[in-house]
Symmetry: C2
């Protein structure tokens, strides 16, 4: 029995019917993933159009009044999350209710303030998303390999916790237990302030001197990519997590003033060192991030020149297949004015020699490899 | 006669010998590109090891005292750029000297202050680079499709200007004429401040609460990617362009304080609007950037599910070739725990239907397309 089918069997056994309130990107994606595991998914949404789309795309069926869910997932915008959690807890006594909102303390405190019985509520937050929102962009695999924060408290039973952590595991995510305030401070640093920083930096571009932006390259494009995010959602998120965000912003503003003063008076004692330390500390910080960078370090990169004609990539990957080289990651650099592109291929270190020799023997031009 | 050979003929005719001082990433890359066009490239570097590497990799030959260059390219670190320009102008009277340093006003003013005859000096700056430096990372194609700023002044003759702009064109870059101060203000905004912002943000990570960075995702990774840059070079660049950088930092600090105050007092008049405007203005700003984003908008994206086994990408691209679909850009999402990856393929809008229908007919599962 494969890992996947064990997991599917467990999901079907554990969940019975899962009720998902909110058929946007996250709700529908959870629906797709659970449906693929054979779980009965009952979808609800205040927008009939969104609900219809989610059902048409295969995220689940329309919820019925007589549904008896074993788990309820609230996946609605932050400003209505507490209200919907309260309503679902009242309508389905004894059933575990979780939410997937990206701020955890505010809804929890709001519900506590209303004296709602939170015994069966466990807040959670899958760190997953896509640039495009809505049921139409939903995809079963967006949780795979991502962290899924689960906020237990003193009241939480082991059985209820297992239901929510089981949901995360069934969707391929890694459950991480955190307190709500601990979660909120973490995402202030790793998500909310980066969003503001990208927005503030990109927000200087409309005032740029004539022609200045022609000089923009990949660095500034990466630094500001998430500035394209939707204002409605972010106003809610930042508002709900204001205190931790302000703490990080204040620290950042102090650092910024320090380096700005150092550049203003470069001959002042320690000024050059302040600038150097800023860059060096950034080096250290970026090394601490998990994920892509770290993962890629496991692989070697080979850059192959590829003619810009149909079929060339096919030949390249076909021949890599013949060489039994598995491509772990891949970037294509394609300049509009050049007659060729560069394919940067990540492979296991043990496969580099085989790939390079084999490709060169077949006439490919290797522009570089990581261990040049 | 193809465009390339016309250009090569022009390069050989125009340049005779090109002397390149500094065989690092930029100098060696220019050497590779010119050598490929048949130009005689004479390389010089204070480091014999670097020079030997550059020659071994094919960037040119070792310079000789009796070289009679028609063009000199200074590609040395910022802190010695002015000295080397002065020396080259003195050693080769009448020969056009350009440099490729990323700050343009400071070396120009330094040389003016020394009463150097700058008639044949034309500062320039190719907006090109790679994450890795040195002769070993040099590549002939890094200038293709990139802007190459050329700083003429009142003394510059049309003939001298044509030599430097011809160099840019021969390397596939687009020459852009700018005044030195105009260039420096532009790169402060599009390169130097983004570097500092990425460094300052990543610089908060070493102080992150325990476990917080586990929640980092692609957004913060992109925002801080360039924080991995080398401190030595950046201390020089920021020091040489301090005034324009400080202007942008001051504006950014004021914007940051405004949004921070709004989050601190969300019920103050206009507070919510300040937060929304920050995100919205970031939306506008990021849309103004040229390049990748803009280019990609020309194309439609198709996301195809690909089994994580050797040969699958080969089959995919082979079949796209059979369908006469040219792949313009390509991203592979590969989750370590999943048994499949997602290949996001950019194609001409007119090819979407053909690609999707053809792939589905051949059994591929299409996860999404841009115009879903």
């Amino acid at each position: 029995m494969t890992e996947l089918s064990t997991s599917a069997a467990r999901a079907a056994r554990t969940h019975g019917t899962v009720r998902i309130v909110g058929a946007g990107l996250l709700g529908s994606s959870i629906g797709h993933a659970l449906s693929a595991l054979g779980v009965d998914v009952a979808l609800d949404d205040t927008s009939p159009a969104q609900l219809r789309l989610a059902v048409d795309y295969g995220a689940g069926r329309v919820a019925r009044p007589d549904d008896r869910p074993s788990l309820i997932v609230v996946a609605v915008p932050p400003d209505v999350t507490a209200d919907v959690i309260e309503r679902e807890l009242a309508a389905h006594p004894g059933v575990v209710v979780t939410d997937v909102a990206s701020v955890k303390l505010e809804p929890f405190q709001t519900l506590q303030g209303r004296d709602v019985d939170l015994t069966h509520y466990i807040g959670s937050h899958p760190l997953a998303g896509r640039e495009r929102g809505g049921a139409i962009s939903a995809r079963a695999d967006i949780f795979v390999g991502r962290p899924w924060v689960v906020c237990r408290d003193g009241d939480t039973s082991a059985a209820d916790l297992a239901v929510v952590e089981g949901l995360a595991l069934d969707l391929g995510a890694t459950p991480i237990e955190m307190a709500p305030d601990e979660h909120d401070r973490a995402v202030a640093l790793t998500s909310h302030v980066p969003q503001l920083v990208a927005s503030l930096l990109a927000g200087r571009f409309p005032d740029a001197p004539d022609g200045a932006l022609r000089l923009a390259g990949q660095g500034v494009r990466d630094t500001t990519r998430i500035a394209a995010s939707a204002p409605e959602l972010w106003v809610q998120i930042l508002g709900a997590n204001a205190a931790p965000v302000v703490d990080v912003l204040d620290a950042l503003a102090a650092d910024l003033t320090r380096v700005s003063d150092a550049l203003r008076a470069p001959d002042a004692p320690g000024a050059r060192r302040t600038v150097a330390d800023t860059i060096r500390r950034g080096n250290e910080g970026v090394e601490l991030l998990p994920g892509k960078h770290g993962q890629n370090r496991r692989f070697e990169q080979i850059v192959v020149m590829v003619d810009d004609t149909p079929g060339q990539l096919g030949r390249l990957f076909g021949e890599l297949g013949e060489l039994e080289v598995n491509v772990e990651d891949l970037r294509l650099e394609h300049s509009p004015r050049a007659q060729f592109g560069l394919a940067e291929i990540s492979v296991e270190p043990t496969a580099v020699r085989r790939a390079v020799d084999g490709l060169e023997a077949r006439g490919w031009k290797i522009a570089s490899t990581t261990n040049d």
